[in-house]
């Protein structure tokens, strides 16, 4: 049962019953002598070759599967391209599908990702990103760089001249993520359940975050008393939080003609601006 020819060994090995019967004879023939050493080396090489052949077959199989997937995807993309771009519900479903199979439609080895290229979705998303920047910057002077997500969606839709619902909050959040490499500090933050988009690199301290949240509930207006009653803060702490926002960060405007409290503070991002 000694096989001297290498190709004959491979042939023998593919007929699996022989695989089991190969090792024992090697041992039985003993580990002594130069002949035994050669036999040992030879079979080692043969095993390596076999394993290479096997993994090559697997890789080929995977490649063909991937190609199939890619073809299907290309087909899907070209068939549904317009729907994906125009129908928010379909786009959301598509993006969720991508998420569940672990594919980011915007990521990829090529610029914008090959999938994004197929779909033209990358351009759409970047375009939206530019419009988001536009809205954030043009409203920054009055809201101090913080805008409610809903308001942002509304203004972006207006800028695009499309009806409400064509651009969704989901799309905007996704676009903001694509802006991250720019390092401009665009970020979605959640305050008391309200999603806000921050376009300035400015850390909100904890008190400010809470104040912003409360102001948003009240349509932008906030007074010391509300903070004392609702949050149980001391007057000093409430005043300090508001003063910081007003004087240091310019996040709010002061109103000295408030009918109830005499002085109130207004967070512009909590107000809805119709222009």
């Amino acid at each position: 049962m000694v096989v001297r020819n290498r190709s004959a060994l491979s042939a023998t090995l593919t007929n699996s019953p022989y695989i089991q019967s190969l090792k024992p004879p090697m041992h039985r023939l003993g580990g002594v002598g130069i002949g035994a050493f050669e036999r040992h080396e030879q079979s080692k090489r043969s095993f390596a070759e076999l394993s290479n052949a096997l993994s090559q077959a697997q890789v080929d199989h995977l490649h063909s599967q991937l190609n199939q997937f890619r073809t299907a995807l290309t087909h899907f993309a070209s068939t549904h391209r317009d729907t994906i771009k125009n129908d928010p519900a379909f786009r959301r479903a598509f993006q969720q599908m991508c998420l569940s199979i672990g594919v980011d439609p915007l990521a990829g080895p090529r610029k914008g990702g090959w999938w994004a290229e197929l779909l033209g979705l990358g351009d759409w998303q970047y375009e939206l990103g530019v419009q988001i920047v536009d809205v954030c910057i043009s409203t920054r002077e009055r809201n101090g760089g913080i805008i409610e997500l809903k308001e942002l969606v509304r203004l972006v839709s207006k800028l695009r001249g499309v009806d409400a619902g064509v651009v969704t909050e989901d799309d905007v959040v996704r676009s903001i993520k694509t802006l991250q490499p720019l390092g401009a500090g665009y970020q979605v933050v959640e305050l008391n359940g309200t999603k806000m988009v921050r376009s300035v690199v400015k850390e909100l301290d904890r008190d400010q975050a809470v104040v912003l949240g409360l102001a948003h509930e009240a349509g932008g207006r906030i007074v010391v008393d509300i903070l004392v009653v609702r949050l149980g803060w001391t007057r000093e702490r409430s005043q300090a939080a508001l003063d910081n926002m007003l004087l240091r960060d310019g996040l709010c405007w002061i109103d000295e003609q408030d009918e109830e409290s005499g002085v109130s503070y207004w967070i512009p991002s909590g107000m809805q601006w119709d222009e």
Partner: protein
Amino acid sequence: MSVAAHTTPSGYLLPSIHSAPPFFTKQINPTTRSIADDHWARIILGYARHRRLFTLRVEDAETSGNDWDEIFRNERINRRLLPDHLASLISSMVTNNLAVYEPPKQTRSVLLYWRRPEEWADVLHSWVASTGQMNTIMTFYEITDPPVESPLSSLPIVILRKAIDVLSKSGRAQIIAIADGEGVRFFPGGSKI
């Protein structure tokens, strides 16, 4: 709250910020304040042009019933511009060359430059040309109170003088002493400044 643009009874469109309650308070934060000042200057000059108003006084914010009620008061949100706030707006407009103290050496009253003297000079020159009055001697009164209403009707003499000065420098006008004071003669001279 929702703030929206509003058209006044006289037909002037106020921007939405005019409906924001804190807009009527002098802001403390310097950045915010300069933003608010810019908006106010734009509103004041826009309204002045709309109603052809030339003079603005701090008193205009003290009492109601004057030309400026529509923009210095917002009854819908129960806010009004306070006199010391207006005084500071006026001084920032003077600093930015959007108005000039008149009479000089006080800070309670200004002439508004909703057109710069250079722009008035162009308006003046083309009006003289279009009415065929080149080379004739005219009194200031004939310019600011012409029989047919013109873009220069009721223009304050102070601004008229500045406009004529601009034209004189480019050889398009000349002040001439006449029997009862001063007159002015215009020349075609197409050269613009």
